[in-house]
């Protein structure tokens, strides 16, 4: 007996001890053994309807489904042998009988469990000679999700997610046998602000994204494991890019931040990254110039203005960018250090009321949150202004209080010095998310080839102000500078923050 609420069992000849109540899929996971499954998800209730997770348990006459079998003391379980493989092969044969096998035009191809398991556990040939059952295809579930009933294997992950996580209970099963299909309540359109998670959950190509479908084969995309910047939650994401364009953003597992989900608003909020009308070179008095020229001009203006200048930062900037901006303020003697802080309604699941990724970082680096009236900016000589994302901006009347303006923006606009602003997918760096968690942005591509990030551009301005300043050679070095300047960052390293973030103010245990 293992005691202490633990049980010890043997999986494929290796002993493993797990907490009582652990199911066999999770127990096997402890040993790095993957038990195939469609309908099982650790965050949702267990239904045991796909039957692919068959395993052999000594003493039980029939193969058992691992998802719904609890690990017991002394249990001897096998996840692979001839009998198990034969069982899985049978399940695959049934699942594929009425499946259209339209992988060549299916968006799921390349990340489809039906494909993967057919490869690993399928017979390779079909014995089925009759006409496949035909069911509704291309069914609109509203403006985000499209349903194909023929591809559906009825795992009910979507049904359970919407009921148990999103709380909208809006998809259900209709009919019986080979006629079974999914239906949506009321007018047939989904309402949940989290509905697109069912597309990621769907193990096959039955649920596809209206936004992404038919845009690219999976294997032609590249992926950046970054975060969403639509609110302070900082949901971990994987962004799929191709030809310097964002094609889709999906949630990436992080038990401490977003679980396996993200909201639809964040997921679909990337149009600015693909905007062809964006500014591609810096401008001085409306003329395109090299970065060095714009940086020199900005430095000259700031030096002349001194404390009659104000800096308005953006909470969409990384800690590293904000740190360089702080150093510029120090060097030029700018006292007014502010940032616009967009807020709005949040919800109880993930959406945070702070509508930017890094208001905390901005505050830590000495910038003061202000509303759009910007009382702090009265009659000044120079305004250094990094515009936030769409939805919030300084009113023209506030900008007009400055004689000269140095602005970072996405688009052409009035300014003495204008720098192109970059999006979250074009930069490496860190932010401080909700719960005081440091998380990394990971660069997916550089737009227009020559676009510099705000950090690089600001470093050039700082270099023009202070001859001795050396720009950071790498994102890691830039982070080290922030960490050295801020006490709560003590003990954090760029590598330590890693792909899943790290909480502020906690010493990292040296390896």
């Amino acid at each position: 007996m293992s005691g202490n609420g633990n049980v010890t069992l043997t999986i494929d000849g290796t002993e493993v001890t797990v907490p009582k109540g652990t199911n066999l899929i999770e127990a096997a996971r402890r040993l790095g053994t993957h038990v195939p499954h469609y309908c099982y998800h650790p965050a949702l209730s267990v239904v045991g309807n796909c039957r692919i997770c068959l395993v052999e348990v000594e003493g039980m006459p029939k193969l058992q489904i691992a998802c719904n079998t609890e690990a017991r003391d002394g249990m001897v379980m096998r996840t692979r042998n001839e009998r198990v493989e034969k069982g899985r092969e049978g399940v695959m044969e049934f699942l594929l009988i009425n499946h259209p096998l339209d992988c060549t035009i299916c968006d799921q191809a390349g990340e489809c469990k039906l494909q993967d398991y057919a490869f690993h556990h399928g017979a390779g040939v079909s014995r089925f000679e009759d006409e496949k059952v035909h069911k509704p295809k291309n069914v609109s579930w509203g403006d985000r999700v499209v349903f194909d009933s023929e591809r559906c294997i009825l795992c009910t992950l979507c049904v359970r997610f919407l009921d148990e996580v999103a709380g909208t209970d809006e998809v259900s099963i209709d009919a019986r046998g080979d006629q079974v299909t999914l239906i949506v309540k009321a007018d047939g359109k989904l309402t949940s602000p989290y509905q697109m998670n069912i597309i990621d959950l769907c193990p096959v190509g039955a649920l596809t994204s209206r936004d992404f479908r038919f845009k690219s084969r999976l294997w032609f995309m590249q992926f950046a494991d970054t975060i969403c910047t639509s609110c302070a939650r900082g949901c971990n994401t994987t962004v799929g890019v191709r030809d310097e364009r964002v094609l889709r953003m999906v949630p990436r597992h992080n038990a401490d931040v977003n679980g396996d989900w993200m909201c639809d608003h964040g997921r679909l909020h990337f149009a600015i990254a693909n905007d062809d009308e964006r500014l591609s070179v810096p401008r001085v008095d409306g003329r395109g110039v090299p970065y060095a020229v714009a940086a020199q001009r900005a430095a000259d203006l700031l030096r002349e203005a001194g404390d009659s200048a104000a800096a308005v930062a953006s909470p969409f900037m990384t800690n590293e960018e904000l740190h360089v901006l702080k150093l510029i303020c120090d060097a030029a003697g700018i006292e007014k250090r502010l940032f616009l802080n967009p807020v709005g309604p949040g919800d109880e699941l993930l959406v945070h009321s702070e509508k930017s990724p890094n208001a905390r970082g901005a505050a830590l680096l000495g910038f003061e949150a202000v509303d759009q009236d910007c009382e702090g900016v009265q009659e000044i000589d120079v305004l250094l202004y990094v515009t936030p994302r769409e939805g919030i901006a300084l009113p023209e009347t506030v900008e007009a209080r400055a004689k000269r303006r140095i602005v970072f923006a996405f688009h052409e606009r009035e300014a003495d010095v204008l720098f192109p602003l970059t999006t979250w997918i074009e930069k490496d760096g860190t932010v401080v998310s909700a719960g005081d968690r440091v998380q990394r942005l990971v660069k997916g591509f550089s737009r227009f080839g020559s676009l510099l990030t705000e950090r690089a551009a600001l470093e050039m301005v700082l270099q023009a102000l202070e001859a001795g300043f050396e720009p950071a050679a790498t994102p890691a070095q830039a982070f080290e500078r922030v960490a050295a300047a801020l006490a709560p960052f003590e003990g954090l390293t760029f590598t330590g923050v890693g792909a899943h973030g790290a909480p502020l103010g906690r010493q990292e245990v040296p390896a």
């Binding site: 259900s172 099963i173 209709d174 019986r176 239906i183 309540k185 009321a186």
Partner: protein, 163 residues
């Protein structure tokens, strides 16, 4: 039909009977099957989308759950039916003892296939899975009354007598 308690969509008597059913289960949703039989009877023998919405409102569940039940169980009708529903058993014992011939006879004489309703609206004909009277096969269920050891003559006598 008198207007009523409940959500005002069903008769007072029906609502009273549904409420009695609710008493017997840990949650209201569990009473859907017996309740839907009552509702189906009150609404001309079938459950239209509108009826399903009314029932969903009465039970305070999303309509899709009731639609799914109607789609799953053969004794609930999602399409209009005739004044009577004739269910002819087609499973093993009945089949061995002549259910196929009876089915062919119904088709010849009354002009209806499985699932169809006679032109005069008298009855809807359905071929059904085992109705549990193998010892007196072949058999059929007309509404809620069973008729056993059928011959074509016996079947005709029953069907002719339907109003």
């Amino acid at each position: 039909m008198r207007p009523v308690s409940g959500n005002g969509k069903f008769s007072a008597e029906l609502v009273k009977r549904v409420e009695a059913l609710w008493e017997r289960y840990p949650d209201r949703k569990a009473a859907l099957l017996p309740a839907l039989h009552l509702i189906q009877k009150e609404r001309d023998g079938w459950l239209s989308d509108e009826t399903i919405r009314d029932a969903a409102e009465l039970f305070d569940v999303p309509d899709m759950h009731i639609k799914g039940i109607v789609g799953f169980y053969d004794m609930f009708h999602g399409q209009p039916v005739g004044r009577h529903v004739v269910r002819l058993c087609k499973t093993l014992s009945c089949k061995l003892r002549g259910a196929d011939e009876l089915r062919a006879h119904v088709r010849e004489k009354y002009g209806v296939l499985n699932g169809e309703t006679t032109a005069d609206g008298r009855f809807t004909f359905k071929c059904f899975e085992c109705l549990g009277h193998c010892e007196v096969a072949p058999m059929m269920l007309v509404d809620e009354e069973k008729h056993t050891e059928l011959t074509t003559d016996k079947l005709d006598a029953v069907l002719e007598a339907l109003a």
